[in-house]
Symmetry: D2
């Protein structure tokens, strides 16, 4: 689940425009998808997710937020990507250990000038993503984010750490 | 100068709406002001800044981005705040060591349901802001953000750290 | 409980010598005390702790490590400090919200050239310690440590964050 | 150059004993070597370093600290390692991009129960070290350390970030 601060940075790195087609791969409960759909009012967002419970939440959110331009896409990447229209932007929140396969398809489909933003929580995903992208001659920015959030306990302010997240951004 | 990642988190915490009146106190070169003005199309943004060179950049950006709803306000807080309309949202990027005085005025002027977001880079500003806000019985969220950004040096990816920033959010 | 990495940094900042008298205030289970006692073979370590279960563990460790120069001191600081010999080094692992009172007594008792190292996990302790020490004209170094540790889950390396800790060092 | 806090954690992870033989590969100015030599009074420390100026500093420190058990070893790893006695502990502070080759030799020479600690500042070194060690079935602990240090500027305490360092520990 993408937490607020990492989500805010990721959406900023995506450089969205109103009429963009966006893929959210490994959409989870759809937090990034919904924000992208609210912004890209004249565009479309495709939330790719394999977990049934998560898909249900995405559809509920689509109703709640009125984001009719958000489509839940059940299934796994990269397989389900073949049916989607070419994207301007791709966000990869989860890759199920298949980041290289997913990036291969994304790179074939991403429109010129497109941007990909990846959230990686395992060192292996960071490694394979960097390896793939450097080998392809792409310019990659890797951000490492450590966030801690206050919790008030008996009049004291304790800082509770969130696990570090790597945010990779690539321009096609 | 607010860097991209901290700016993205701060703007997210501000929970902007299209018609809001926003104060950006210690606006610097206006990065937060411009993004707020672009979002609050039916609202107004006031960029309070004392440094002449920075004000010049704010005005240049207003022209460049076409953000006619962004007004540069030369001078220091809290003095210049008296002339501004009541805000829905306040962002404090710089406080010149006067965070308590600024918050005192802001709390008097902030509309009901308003939100204040503070970026603090000195421990003293964090201390005084938390002290003031806890004493006033406000609910404060303190976020500590550590960001490192990749730099490619001779085929290697080095991670370069940005100084930690504290982001405090309060709801009136 | 002081985790290994924060403990290692704290012990380094203490600049121990073989014949030093060391106070460990808020010793918890005695991890810092034991390492200090093993190093200060010709010195003495006093582990001040109010929790009975923790004291029991300190005594068990004293037996296990053979650190006969480590004395468990039941009770609370600053009260129990009056019975102890003047220290060369003081480590404050826990202050029960009374950091200013504890530092007042420590400063009166610390030998010339002595060093104090404080671990603070609440913003309030950081604030009050810095306030007290700056007011006294002391030179303080504040270190903010964020540590994440790997966890292997199904062939993947996840990084699990530890809560941030502030390590303050002062020279008398 | 290994900074104090990262050095303290690394030395702690090394689990030194008085009579150990220690290799410090990429010793730099010898900070880790000197501390290891002071601890391993009945052992020996070999500081492998290719840079002439750094070697000069290592020899100066050996004189200054009286650490006659510290030997400067000019040259590059893994080549120069063949002439050294088998180690109980190996610290790799710099690998010149040859971490896999160095680890190959180290694993052949490390005594049973030995420990290797690696400091990595490039993502590539982290990747290759983890890849090599996981492939060999070793249990690896990866620590990610972010440290910020206070700087007093005009009565304010600014926190200045050090670049993140990955500390990997392996037991043979």
């Amino acid at each position: 689940m993408t937490k607020e601060e990492v989500r805010a940075i990721s959406l900023s790195k995506l450089r969205l425009k109103k009429d963009f087609t966006v893929w959210d791969i490994g959409a989870g409960t759809g937090a990034v998808s919904v924000e992208a759909a609210l912004y890209c009012k004249e565009g479309r967002v495709y939330a790719v997710e394999k977990d049934e419970k998560a898909l249900k939440l995405i559809r509920q959110n689509t109703g709640a937020f009125g984001t009719l331009n958000l489509t839940a896409v059940p299934g796994e990447a990269p397989e389900v990507l073949f049916d989607l229209p070419d994207p301007d932007r791709v966000f990869i929140g989860g890759s199920g250990g298949k980041i290289a396969e997913i990036l291969t398809v994304v790179m074939q489909r991403l429109k010129a000038g497109g941007v990909i933003v990846i959230n990686a929580v395992t060192m292996e995903t960071v490694h394979r993503a960097q390896e793939f992208l450097y080998a392809g001659g792409y310019e990659v920015e890797t951000i490492l984010v450590n966030v801690a959030r206050s919790v008030r306990v008996g009049g004291s302010t304790l800082m509770q750490a969130r696990n570090p997240v790597f945010i990779l951004s690539v321009k096609a």
